[in-house]
Symmetry: C2
């Protein structure tokens, strides 16, 4: 029986990630990635569309986890979004800190990648907002709850990947959400 081999998608992602770390994103071509993975350029383009996309294939999964968690939640809109990011912390990010740090360093190195990341975030925010709208929340409520939840996640994530951090992403999300609640609670009660 043949040895198990990761699928083409997985091999290309792994090859892209290695090459971006070794040579930098700009210095890596799609031909280099395909060669490292033992595949051809056509396969790469069929699966990813462009070079940047090899670094973002996980974002569809993250979006699915968030939308599902929000759809299933009985909580208020902000709590639902924060809990959804908490679930994503467990299902998508746990145990992957070193990978996430390395990936983020690659993204920060390229304006093109930062731009793609912003678009992925926009798409994710739109999907979560739509999931709240589908539960009957008004548009402004859905927008504010999603953007506040995404902000909590962004701040928690930045702390999580910062050098020397040792808290878990879920704990950081809970902590930052509590701080946001305190800051936005009525005047006089937050200091």
């Amino acid at each position: 029986m043949a040895r198990w081999q990761p699928d083409a998608r997985g091999r290309l992602q792994a090859a892209a990630f290695e090459l971006f770390r070794e040579r930098g994103f700009d210095q890596t071509t799609v031909a280099d990635i395909a060669e490292r993975a033992g595949l051809d350029k056509r396969t790469f383009y069929r699966l990813f569309g462009d070079k940047r996309e090899a670094l973002f294939s996980g974002s569809g999964h993250l979006e699915e986890v968030l939308v599902k968690a929000v759809a299933e939640s009985d909580a208020g809109p902000f709590d639902a979004v924060v809990a959804a990011f908490g679930r994503a912390a467990e299902e998508v990010f746990v145990g992957r800190l070193e990978f996430v740090r390395a990936r983020q360093a690659i993204i920060e190195s390229s304006p093109e990648l930062r731009e793609r990341e912003l678009r992925k975030t926009d798409s994710l925010v739109a999907a979560v907002t739509a999931a709240l709208r589908a539960k009957g929340f008004a548009e402004t409520t859905a927008t504010l709850a999603t953007e506040s939840g995404a902000m909590v996640f962004r701040v928690a994530y930045a702390r999580w990947i910062a050098p020397g951090s040792d808290a878990s992403l879920s704990d950081l999300i809970a902590e930052v959400a509590a701080e946001l609640r305190a800051i936005t609670s009525p005047v006089g009660s937050h200091q």
Copy 2:
């Protein structure tokens, strides 16, 4: 005595704005703008750096108003930022709805302009966060308060410039801030 003439900066901005509306941003050159203003390209580049900047010269003023308002406030961090945007609504935006709508339509028409707008927003958020840090607030507190306040402003501003809207920007800011408070208040109290 010579007739009063707007200064070179004002004439170039007005010419750029007219041409972007008439022809579109991509179809307008810096030479066109200078010619319409009766000035030369060198003057344009000396004052603005690049074509995009002609549409963003007000953002420095907005940043100043916000930083000053935050620095002078005695309120908690989120209230200070919301109040600062309220002051900006009165000092920078009042009476300018038609101009703001036309300007926003130009920005939405060009990825280059949207990118510049994002950078201006980042710079503004960094300046307001720094103003809160200077008042002694912790980094996470300052970040969350500024980003929440900026989110309130963004949602209120989108409603303000939407077709058919007739509420004032300051009222919308107050309304959206109240809604954010309600959404992030403890479970059970927001529905």
